[in-house]
Subunit: 399 residues, 2 copies
């Protein structure tokens, strides 16, 4: 039987020349698993270029350098090492990810033969031998500009992303709608996304904004922002945001994420937000969420279209699934101003928004049943104040 | 707008004749949701017969009677009611399940019009109106024999099922292998399943076995047993098992599950279990499980084929994924007797078994690399003792 141990003995026994050229490093299992877990997010298992199904692993002065990329999104992470070596290999991301999650001992030793062909990963009594792909074929990691445009805490950035990214389009027909528009005006940063049926606008002022005076804003792929949020979430560490003509980069401690920007002109979203509202009601967010969820079961079509009707201090939500039946429930409003209003909308869009918002109460602003409904913070006077604004286009139902 | 509330007022206001014929009951939200959750498991959303996509709901002396069926498996549950009514309706299982999970208030009122056409479910301010299907078209619930063959606690039955059902075949080519064979000999009950690549045998003696003297055993669909286990799991209540020529029934409190049996002759499984073993090793179950999981990453083919080699007090597990690489790890054995042994097998089968067993240690019994490996309790002397026995067919690997 030609097993791993035998092979490894053979090469160790096969003379000083070979032995001298083997190179190894040791590192911590948890840190290695964390690093691989981060960079493999940029790797697509379905890539037609085999080398892009791999993770680059190379020794460096800063530790073990890991890179994953699909050419659009590239992620680099450094793992501290307890000894130095000298190799550069590319291992299949799929296998590497599974392996590093299951290593039995705290210490991991990664050894490479003289020609960067076979990598041995050992931990406790477990030994893996993996064939490397040609490291010279691996794409170079993109350069990151010198000066960050914005410094923000991981937690704030995560909230910003979580509250906007879900409104971006998933269909590729208009690529610029699959991104989130980021703009800087003075110390105010805005994220805007829309799939043309709904819109999210999130804004806030920050201490550390240092963007060039004239910039028309950036369209960042929604997937990039989701991956950034996944990596920095819950972290108190500062994230540095860098941008150039066609790339954006996020640096957080030992991890750098670089992504292409989406070309094109983001729509003039300000135009679709109504200037005035005929009805403004304030409701408890969770109560509204539960009621919409309950009624939407009978929602028309695959989007669960429902109808909202305000009257005195009651918001009535109703739905009608043809042939099956109807549903209705009510929420008592916290406050209401203006005239009674009515609108039909896709319940999934409203649910997404109510889940993304953290406030205990939200305001719903209507302007007749043919204009979009706007969801804002409570007590916001003009459409330019408040830290978030969501908009949902109405659906025309046959009464 | 023609909403639910308007409709319901109309019918309530439309005169004494209509009002008198409406019938309603009230019940507890949690008990209703539990009952619907149980019976809808027998309903197939893909049934080509529309009536079989529904749940029958009818008033009875024992409470609200719910039935779901796909003609092979039928489940009946009774829900206690706080008032009596008189109706019989069939509501779409998909909608009903979603509705009862989301009702806002503790008390639920179910009202039916005089012709069993429209059902109103209301709770708090939520009102659903659902169109009923034709209840007279709903299949009759199968009759259950008078005397149970076996009485067993829900917990014991769940363990019995969990430890055997996963070895049944999922392919329909040989229907009798998609079931679990249940046989009674005196006070011993056996469950056996095999997909011809592996076999599970679980047996135990019980106080309450009362099966007819001559019975050749029953082949119960694996799905039926899984549903029974799901319903009675963790319950200390007694489950009564009834059988007839072509049906089996399980009664647990207010729930009755009736299933067709599978026709055919179950294979003579005793024949494939080796009479003697050349190697017997005992290992810690969890350590073996973790090691197999770790090495199987590099397992050959989609079944993650691995090799087990015993030598002195070590069990070596190795794998070889062509073109990708190799893996090896070792487990220290608790004890070993006989000669060194070796076998190649599908890691998934071994993992399934190690997950199903509760014992801290297990024995692996080999008879050369061309015979099946047998996994039993520790310290079992003959193949007829012990409460469980698993068998995995070997794979022939090119060395």
């Amino acid at each position: 039987m030609n097993n791993v141990e035998d092979n490894s003995r053979q090469s160790l026994d096969s003379g000083d020349v070979t032995t001298a050229k083997r190179s190894s490093i040791s590192c911590d299992r948890e840190l290695l698993a964390k690093g691989v877990g981060i960079v493999q997010r940029a790797v697509s298992a379905r890539s037609t270029l085999p080398i892009l199904q791999g993770v680059l692993i190379e020794t460096s002065n800063q530790g073990l350098r890991l890179i994953g990329t699909d050419l659009e999104l590239s992620i680099e992470a450094y793992v501290p090492v307890m000894s130095t070596g000298d190799f550069q290999v590319v291992l299949p991301a799929k296998y590497l990810t599974e392996i590093v999650r299951r290593l039995p001992a705290r210490e991991v030793i990664i050894t490479c033969d003289s020609e960067n062909r076979v990598v041995t990963i050992s931990s406790g009594k477990a030994i893996y031998e993996i064939n490397s792909m040609e490291a010279r074929e691996y794409p170079l990691f993109p350069e990151v500009p010198d000066i960050p445009w914005w410094k923000v805490s991981g937690k704030n950035l995560t909230d910003f992303v979580r509250q906007t990214v879900f409104c971006a389009a998933t269909e590729e027909t208009r690529p610029f709608l699959t991104g989130v528009f980021m703009s800087f005006e003075g110390d105010e940063v805005r994220l805007v996304s829309t799939d043309s049926f709904r819109l999210a606008l999130r804004k806030s002022s920050f201490d550390n904004v240092n963007s060039p005076k004239q910039n028309k804003g950036l369209i960042i792929p929604a997937r990039t922002l989701s991956e950034v949020a996944r990596i920095v979430q819950g972290s108190d560490n500062e994230v540095e945001v860098y941008a150039s003509e066609n790339q954006i980069a996020f640096k957080c401690q030992e991890t750098t994420i670089v992504s292409r920007l989406i070309e094109g002109q983001f729509p003039n979203y300000d135009r679709v937000i109504p200037q005035q509202y005929s009805t403004v009601i304030t409701v408890k967010r969770v109560a509204l969420q539960e009621t919409v969820d309950r009624v939407a079961i009978m929602g028309k079509d695959e989007f669960g279209t429902i109808r909202l009707t305000t009257d005195n201090d009651l918001l009535t939500i109703s739905a009608n699934a043809p042939e099956v039946g109807k549903a209705q429930d009510q929420v008592t409003t916290v406050s209401m101003s203006g005239e009674p209003g009515e609108i039909a909308l896709r319940s999934r869009y409203l649910m997404d928004i109510l889940k993304a918002v953290d406030d205990d109460e939200v305001s719903l602003r209507l302007t007749g049943s043919l204009s979009p409904v706007v969801i804002t913070q409570v007590g916001v006077e003009s459409k330019d104040s408040g830290s978030f604004l969501y908009l949902i286009m109405p659906v025309t139902l046959n009464a």
